[in-house]
C-alpha cells in the first residue's frame, strides 16, 4: 500500500511541474497587464501540434521543437498584443471586459485556424514512452523529462525576472505601471514583450505535453481553466504560489483518480476552483483581490 502511495505522490509531483509550466505564461501576462488571456489553451495546443508536425513530418525531436514552438508563439504573442490588445484602453471595468472578450474571440480564431491546418483528429507523438524504474515503482519517462524541463524553464524565468534588466522592468511594470513609466520605462514595449513571453511559455509547454497526452484543436477550454485555477489558487501573479498550487492540483488529481475514480477526478479541478473562489479569492499567497 505504501508503495502505491509513494508512486501516486511522485506521479502527482511530476505532473505538478508540468502543470506549472502550462500555467506560468498566464500568470506572467496577468501579473503585468491584469489580463486573463483566454486564448492561452489554444496557444498551448498550437505549440504542441507544431512539435507534432516537426516530429512526424521531419523527425525532429520534441526537445528541439521546444524552443522552436516557444519562438513561434512569441512572435504570435507580440503581434496579438501590438495589433489588438494595445488598442484597448484598460481603464475601469469596461476596459477589463473588452480585453476579456477580445481574448475570448482570439481563442476561437486560433482554435479554428489550427483546425484548418491540422484537422480535428487527436494527435500525439511517440517519444520517451518507456518507464524509469525506481525500485518497484515505474514512472513514465516522458513525464519525468517533461517535468524536469518544466522546472528548468520556471527557474530560467525566475532568474530572468530577478536578475536581468528587462526582467526587472517587467516586474516593475507589474507592480506599478504608472511608476514604471515615470522611471522612463517604455510600458508599451514591456507589455508587448510580456505577452510574447507569456505566449512563448504556453507554446513551449504544449510541445512538451503533447508527448504525454494527445491534443485536439477543439479542446482548449479545459487547459485554460486548469491554468487559471492554478494561478488563482496560488495568488494571481505570484510565482511561488503557482508552484505550490500546481503541485497540489497534480497530487489531488492523481489520488482522486486512484481512490475515487476518474469521474470525480475530472470534477476535482472545478471543485477546487470554486472552493478557492469562495473561501480565499486571493489565493493561498496573494493579496486580497478587488471585491
Amino acid at each position: 500500500m505504501w508503495i502505491t502511495i509513494i508512486n501516486l505522490l511522485l506521479l502527482g509531483l511530476l505532473w505538478g511541474g508540468v502543470y506549472l509550466l502550462m500555467a506560468t505564461g498566464l500568470n506572467l501576462i496577468y501579473g503585468v497587464m491584469k489580463v486573463v488571456n483566454l486564448a492561452h489553451g489554444d496557444m498551448i495546443i498550437v505549440g504542441g501540434l507544431l512539435a507534432f508536425t516537426l516530429f512526424s513530418a521531419h523527425g525532429i525531436s520534441p526537445i528541439i521543437a521546444f524552443p522552436l514552438a516557444a519562438a513561434l508563439l512569441f512572435v504570435i504573442g507580440v503581434v496579438v498584443q501590438f495589433v489588438i490588445l494595445e488598442r484597448i484602453p484598460v481603464k475601469g471595468s469596461l476596459g477589463e471586459l473588452r480585453t476579456l472578450l477580445a481574448t475570448f474571440g482570439l481563442s476561437y480564431v486560433i482554435a479554428n485556424t489550427s483546425f484548418l491546418i491540422w484537422g480535428s483528429q487527436f494527435q500525439s507523438l511517440p517519444f520517451l514512452q518507456g518507464s524509469v524504474q525506481l525500485g518497484r515503482i515505474a514512472l513514465p519517462q516522458a513525464l519525468v523529462a517533461a517535468s524536469v524541463l518544466a522546472f528548468c524553464a520556471a527557474l530560467v524565468l525566475h532568474l530572468w525576472l530577478t536578475y536581468t534588466m528587462l526582467g526587472k522592468s517587467v516586474r516593475a511594470t507589474a507592480q506599478s505601471g504608472l511608476g514604471a513609466a515615470c522611471c522612463g520605462l517604455n510600458s508599451r514595449l514591456i507589455r508587448v514583450i510580456t505577452f510574447g513571453v507569456g505566449a512563448a511559455l504556453a507554446g513551449a509547454a504544449g510541445s512538451l505535453v503533447i508527448t504525454l497526452i494527445p491534443f485536439q484543436t477543439t479542446a482548449s477550454g479545459e487547459l485554460t481553466i486548469q491554468a487559471f485555477t492554478i494561478i488563482a489558487l496560488g495568488g494571481l501573479g505570484n510565482y511561488m504560489g503557482a508552484l505550490i498550487a500546481a503541485e497540489i492540483l497534480g497530487i489531488v488529481e492523481v489520488f482522486t483518480q486512484y481512490y475515487l475514480g476518474s469521474n470525480p477526478a475530472s470534477a476535482a479541478i472545478y471543485v477546487i476552483f470554486i472552493a478557492v473562489l469562495i473561501f480565499r479569492p486571493q489565493g493561498l499567497f496573494g493579496k486580497v483581490g478587488r471585491v
Binding site: 484537422g119 511517440p126 514512452q129 518507456g130 513514465p140 494527445p214 479542446a219 492523481v254 475530472s266
Partner: protein, 395 residues
Amino acid sequence: MLSSYNGRFSPRLIAGAMLLAATSLGSVQAAPANIKVGLSITQTGPYSPPAIFELRGYQLAIDEINQSGGLLGRKLDLIKYDDQGNPSTAVQLYQKLLTDDKVDLLVSPYQTDLTAAVAPIVNRAKKVMPSLAANVENYSGKYPYLVQAITQTPQYMTPALDLAASKGYKTVALLIQNTQFPIQLAGGIEDEAKKLGMKIVFKESYDPSTTDFSALVLKAGNLHPDVIVGATYLADAEGIVRAAKSQNVGAKMFAFSIGPVEPEFHKSLGAAANGIFGTTLYFPSLKTKGNAEFVKAFQAKFNVAPDYHAAVAYASMKLFGKAVTQVGSLDQTKIRDAFLKLSEDTVVGHFKLSPTGLQTGYRSYVLQWQDGKQVLVWPTEDAQAAPVLPHGGWK
C-alpha cells in the same frame, strides 16, 4: 374529355387538344428531375475525420449508381450540410432537407446523438432512413422508419473476447469512457464475458475529458488481469496504452474498441502500438461481395484506403438503391418494408434486419498492429495473419 363531337372544331375540342398538347409537351420538355438524397454530416468539429469517410462512402456509391443509369431512370443528387456535431443544428438541417429542399431520400448523420436528435422528425415525416448509428435504442420500435445499416454496438467487441477465450484467458479489466457508445459497448462485453465464463475483475468508467490515465491503469494493473479491455475512442485508447507502457503495467492482451482502427494510433504511439488489438467492422482485405472493386474505386477517387465508416456508408447507399429499385417508386413505407425483407451480401458483410430494424447480419472483426501495420487476425476465416499473443511486454 370531349362531350360532343359533331365534326366541327368546337371550343371544347380546341381547349382539350391544347391541354393535351400542353401536358405532353411538358413531359417531353422537362427531363426527369434528379432524385435528391439529403443528409447532414459532421464536416467540422471534433468528430469530423470518421464522418468525412462516411461522406466519401456515400459519394462513391452515388457516383456508381449514376454511372449505371441512376435509380428509376433518374440520376441522384447529394445535398449535404455541415452539422458541426451539434444536435440542434442537425435537427434544423434535417428540417431544411425535409421542408425546404424537399429531398426524396434521407440518409443519417454520423454521430449517435445526432441520429437520436433527428429521429423524431424523420419518423414523423415518414421518411425511411438507413442509419449509421450503432446504438440500439433507435431501432426498438420507437422509430419504425429508421433501419440500422451498421453493426449494433453490443456486438462490437464480442470477437475480441472470443479470441481471448480461445487462448484460455480468464480475467478482464474493463475501462469505459462515460459516453453513450462505449457504455452500451461495455454492456455487450460484459454479456459476452459471462457467456464465455470469463470474469470481470475490474470495471471503471472515466469522464471523456480525462487525459491522463496513470492512476487508473496502475489500479487496474495491480489486479494483474489477463486482458485489459477499453471501451474507448482514439484519445483515451492512446492514453491507456501510454500509461501502461510508461508504468510497465503488463497484461497478456490489450484490446480497444475504437482507437487501434485509426491510423493515428500508430502515429501517436509508434512501436508501442504493435501488439495492440482493436475492433473494426470492415477491412479492405475482406473477401466480401464487391469489396475488391470497392477498395480499388475508393482508392482511385480519394487517394486513401476506405475505412469501415466509408464501407458501411457505401453499402447502405447501394442497398438503398436496391430497395428503391425493388419497390419501383419512392414510396417510403414500401421502401422501409423492402429493407426489412432484405438479406444481402455487401462489402461489409451480410445485411439482415430484425423486425424492428435492428441490424442482425453485420458482425465485427479483430485487428492487430503488427510491425507498424494493421492486420486482420480474427475470426480465422477472414484473418490475414495469426494473432500475436500473449503481449510481448514493454521493452
